[in-house]
Symmetry: none
Subunit: 197 residues, 4 copies
């Protein structure tokens, strides 16, 4: 019955995803504190007991949620860094577009990160690491860009912090105020100007 096992595994994966998706939705609507296991199980169309076969605790769900959010930030950054065909300035421009698009598509994912402080130490550390990774990668690009004379001068770390904070702020605003922000969401070039020489 190897076929059966495969099917089983697929069902398991789907369910896991569903739980995470529903959790993200509830979080988006009411904040992290409002995620109740009961509500979550119901919204995911399963019993509470079953939910515990997929995650060992509520905290774990949060942790995975944050981890996924983190990866969705790291992956594009990684790709951009690896894309050595382009100039640093071009890559920063690409990164900016990527991020802005992603924020508009799923602002809650980004916002989730800013609530991670409520989580246990391990997750927080992972988060800090991710922050460092992002910052370091970005710094490299900025330094390279500065050498290309395409990126403005100044401490690259400062530029980094400003740039990343701006992105995070946009995600938060978008989420908190919704349509009014969406209507006036800044375009790539406006944000990129933060970095431009």
């Amino acid at each position: 019955m190897p076929r059966k096992q495969e099917v089983n595994q697929q069902i398991r994966d789907e369910r896991r995803e569903r739980i995470l998706r529903v959790a993200a939705a509830i979080f988006a609507e009411k904040g992290i504190a409002a995620i109740k296991i009961g509500e979550l199980a119901e919204a995911a169309g399963m019993s509470q007991g079953l939910l515990y076969r997929y995650f060992s605790s509520k905290e774990e769900i949060f942790a995975v949620l944050v981890e996924k959010a983190v990866h969705s930030l790291i992956r594009p950054m990684h790709d951009i860094l690896a894309d050595t065909d382009k100039s640093a300035a071009e890559r920063l421009h690409d990164l900016t577009r990527l991020m802005l698009d992603d924020i508009q598509a799923c602002s809650q994912r980004h916002r989730l990160i800013s609530q991670a402080q409520a989580l246990p130490g391990q997750t927080k550390e992972a988060l800090a690491e991710m922050g460092n990774y992002l910052q370091q990668g970005l710094c490299q690009l900025i330094v390279a860009g500065q050498q290309e004379k395409k990126i403005r001068n100044g401490d690259p770390n400062r530029l980094c912090v400003l740039y990343l904070s701006t992105l995070q702020g946009l995600a938060a605003s978008l989420h908190l105020f919704g349509q009014p922000i969406r209507d006036y969401f800044p375009d790539v070039d406006t944000v990129y100007r933060l970095l431009e020489a």
Copy 2:
């Protein structure tokens, strides 16, 4: 003999402030969901019962906290708008400095706003109003600045959203990552550049 009324009132005011201060501190450390009435009362050096003479519920404490945070944003904005002696560009520069200083001094206050979604409808609406007020005031200044040819062209609302989001993002980052961010906190001119012509 009963205590004199004014003395009483003074004590009341002090206690109320203390509760809010302690709540803000706990929030800063562990997030809004972690504020337990018991812990709060203990940290404020009073019984739980007494705390309920000052606030009718936990929710009310949150609401007041957010409201105060909102006012601390609105007031400086208001002052800047009223300061008609200066040019629009100067005033925007001043506002930027004011905000950055305030964020560095009390990032949790700013961050609190981004957790307001957990609150009941009324508070959320007040928040949205405040957002509108800020945005409108800022837009006026930006339009005026554009006429002075000191502020870059483009839809003023878009600039607004970007500018305010950047500030909020800085507050969030500062809070979330702490010292690393503080070390590279951007200076006024770097942020102001978002607006500059």
Copy 3:
């Protein structure tokens, strides 16, 4: 300063009465469980602390309230029993009128008695005693009336129970349903018919 003491005592008496009056009013409106010391003190126009100089506990207030209600039932009964000039039948007729008038004037007082079970043992016993006293007195009158051939035959205790329950029921109904009952409140003769030969 004997005059001063007299005045003081008068003030004390008035306050005591006021507390009881207010307690009775709250009870009337919301039931015995709803009497909160804080509310009571405020409605009586004094501080909670002062209230405790007049009554040592909430329970005591209830006890006194019930006791007063009991006495207001016992006294007329006593008077009627003592009024040996009239025939038993006449006296029963008088008693009926007295009771009905009193119920209409202050139904809550009567109703209070039926909530006395919530009170401590002592008060309950006093209540039981009062019940016995009423029943015995009434029985005497009924037996005398039966000898006069003016009161219907049958076990006098049974008649007693029925008669007293009817009065209590009228008080309860009046209180619970208010005006609709007041409009159709039975007259003396209709009730007296329960006893009449």
Copy 4:
């Protein structure tokens, strides 16, 4: 394997009934104010948490208790009214017997009604409606009985009020004084005499 749905429902129903039964018993012994959720849960042999799966609040338990009491009054009245084979006088006699028997069997149920004032507005209104229904039905019968010359003359509403109050009073007395009243509980004919021509 999950329990079968019908079995589950049956367990639920039984538990719900048990809670109500225990609540009624505590009420009977100590009054409505004395019902503590903790005590209730323990007496019903379940945890407090479980109890809240059956009733959303203490108030709701009261409300249901009163509602059930009300229905147990309305149903027999309804049946009697529908029993058109008999004369009005016969039906009133039947109703009287029914009521007296029920009062002796479960006086607390009747007494509960007189504590309904402690409940929220909605329940109180339902109660008033029930009062009206009873009164109207009874009035019809009385008027019919008067036409049959079997029921005494006089305003039927007044007779109604007196009759229903008498029954309520008997329930209250029975409960408050217990055995002494039970020993001398009036028989059907004695009470019926209130109505008889």
